[in-house]
Symmetry: C2
Subunit: 413 residues, 2 copies
């Protein structure tokens, strides 16, 4: 894409109403727009990154047999009354509204209830199990404070997958498959090294629950990391009894700040029993379906990646989620040899399937480089007088600032 | 995809609480799930069709230079107060809520206001114009009645594009480009022949406004069609004066039922003046930006396509939006020659990039064919005893029921 056509502009100054580093940088770089506290629109560069994160997660969910759907934001309160999650005293983050025709509705805080009901129309026999269903959909939470930028919004996108099984063994196999898919997702997002499966206090169904925590100075959580085993526990689990059960030696643990980047839950039959999701087994007996739920905050992930990788010059994206792979920066003026060289290189790279943002504007080199650093595209290819003359281009790696001289033909590999 | 793995099941009977043909069929076929009146979730087959419609529209919006973003559902009421579209007496379809921290918010009924504000951060000079921005995003309308299935929902997805220009000529060129893109979209959706650019009474900025109307017995509108010129007028424009202005002869007009399938609006400077979106021209003068807006209801389109193409046996999809191109129906039992032939054909077609739904289940042939008709996939390839023996397959075209005998190698073309 030619940058002269990209409608977003960058800003030199951080917006005065943002305290979170992620929102400051993403707004400055024109990736997002703040509508209100905790409510952000995604502009072209931000949407491209968001879609790359979505696609990575989608591929891994499909690979373990997830089937994609999309549920609604508007919720039927009668469903949530049955599971006792409608009442203000139980769940205090609902956005609630009235229908014009009478009756209450609210905006989905999560989707266990509606999906369990959907599945009652589609699961009746053991032959219908196991199955897994997921979506990318917005959640809404009426948070009193929203100070963490896109890491904790009032409106945010999640991938949520739900598993349905006929036995504990089948459920454990689904749980293990999704857990492994999450590990692959964090690898592909460039976060594997700093993301820890973390034990938290158990739910109803097991001694411990698990979540994924990614180390970050912006983290709201404190975890205790065993670096060798690459696992962690949270504060609740920091008791001798719990550590003994987990086989973790307290002496190996290091305290770190982290942010929750994924969660995986055993739900047992809590929702299926309450909402009547059952199946008939091989003997003709009727049994409740065993469920699990597995979430990753997709917009939150944009924030985590920003917090983890950005530096004092601006954003830094891993290749897998960068809005473009290459930032082609021309130092020429319209019509001169430099511009012509850059134009042709842009066309050729684009034809070769490389995603290129092409800075074809008439601006000073210093201004262009500063903006390029702010945008955080992994490789910058500079076209100046020398490159136009020799066909050898300066390539700067955003992550470490390394500068190489690369002949034209090698740019395509 | 193997149908034995698809979690959705079809139903023989129409749901008792649906009067609209589109919702009855889409629910029966397992494409959608009704959460509440006018609120529908999209299940795997429905989501595949929805995504194909989205992709066709996206390609045409990109082709005319649209830049994709995604705005939020939650709205800042102060913006809508400035344009006088917040007050109940002016706009009575808002879902309104309170923030936990105090203050009101509502769910987007459309997005002129937030996008105009976003653009004030990015447009300041004539050099920033023209530009066009679009999104696929949910709208929410608190309709008193919702009886038209997915054609008129309380929560529905729209593609909305907005154009920004520095002069009337530039605006007219944008308007013409998007109008032409809409014509191409209706062609690709298989609706060109029955979709008419239709003149309605003018807004503030012109004698007439235009909308696209698609002929359908389920239509809520009545239009008057000049079939030769392939244009139409609505009832408001059926005056001698208006027809004379448009050069339309009343005698050529035929009354038809139709449904609005797209709209295109000149907005002039209504939003830019009110919300302060201006640019500095070549002479240094400050001027308001000239805007247009262009909508297509994406979920509504699923309903229109159903109403227009479905027959007494079930859904019928144009190839461009069908969830799969081929429904491969095996009449074998697990392990027999027929099943092996079908398995291999499924693998080979999938490898060749053909999107195949493979009915690999142990069911009676009659049941499979009836369900296949209900699902509406364009081509059905049947694998029975003869096919397994001869390598010649029965291919049924869903649209007209035509049956052909096709040798295996020709199935790939």
């Amino acid at each position: 894409m030619r940058q002269s056509r990209l409608f977003t502009k960058t800003r030199r100054e951080a917006p005065s109403d943002e305290t979170a580093k992620n929102a400051q940088l993403l707004v400055r770089a024109g990736y997002i727009h703040k509508e209100m506290a905790g409510v952000y629109s995604y502009l072209p560069l931000g949407l491209r990154t968001l879609n790359k994160i979505i696609q990575i997660i989608r591929e891994e969910m499909d690979a373990v047999g997830g089937q994609e759907i999309i549920m609604t934001a508007l919720q039927d309160k009668t469903l949530w009354e049955r599971t006792d999650r409608w009442d203000e005293t139980k769940v205090d983050i609902w956005f609630k509204m009235k229908f014009a025709g009478g009756g209450d509705t609210g905006l989905a805080i999560t989707h266990e209830e509606p999906l369990t009901r959907i599945m009652t129309a589609h699961i009746s026999s053991y032959r219908d199990l196991p199955t897994m269903v997921y979506q990318f959909q917005n959640k809404f939470r009426n948070e009193l404070r929203a100070k963490s930028g896109v890491m904790r919004g009032k409106e945010f996108m999640m991938k949520d997958l739900y598993s349905f099984a006929k036995s504990d063994e089948e459920h454990e196999a689904q749980y293990a498959a999704v857990r492994a898919a999450y590990v692959r997702i964090f690898e592909r997002l460039g976060l594997a090294g700093r993301t820890y499966p973390t034990f938290a206090s158990g739910g109803v169904f097991s001694d411990f629950s698990e979540e994924f925590q990614t180390l970050s100075e912006a983290g709201e959580d404190t975890i205790y990391v065993d670096e060798k085993k690459h696992i962690a526990v949270n504060r609740e689990v920091l008791t001798d009894e719990a550590l003994a059960k987990l086989g973790i030696d307290r002496a190996t643990l290091v305290e770190k700040k982290a942010v929750e980047s994924g969660n995986i839950f055993h739900l047992g039959t809590r929702f299926s029993e309450t909402l009547g999701l059952s199946f008939t087994d091989e003997t003709g007996a009727k049994k409740p379906v065993i469920m699990g739920s597995y979430g990753i905050g997709v917009t939150r992930m944009v924030g985590i990646l920003t917090e983890v990788f950005a530096d004092e010059k601006g954003l830094v994206w891993p290749e897998s989620v960068a809005p473009f792979a290459v930032h082609l920066v021309s130092l020429g003026k319209e019509g001169d040899e430099i511009s012509k060289t850059a134009d042709t290189l842009y066309d050729d790279l684009t034809k070769a399937g490389v995603e290129v943002l092409y800075d074809d504007r008439d601006l000073r080199a210093g201004e262009k480089f500063a903006e390029s650093d702010l945008l955080g595209i992994p490789k910058r290819v500079v076209v100046g007088k020398d490159a136009a003359a020799t066909g050898v281009f300066e390539v700067v790696t955003r992550l470490n600032g390394a500068v190489e001289k690369v002949p034209r033909e090698q740019l395509f590999s």
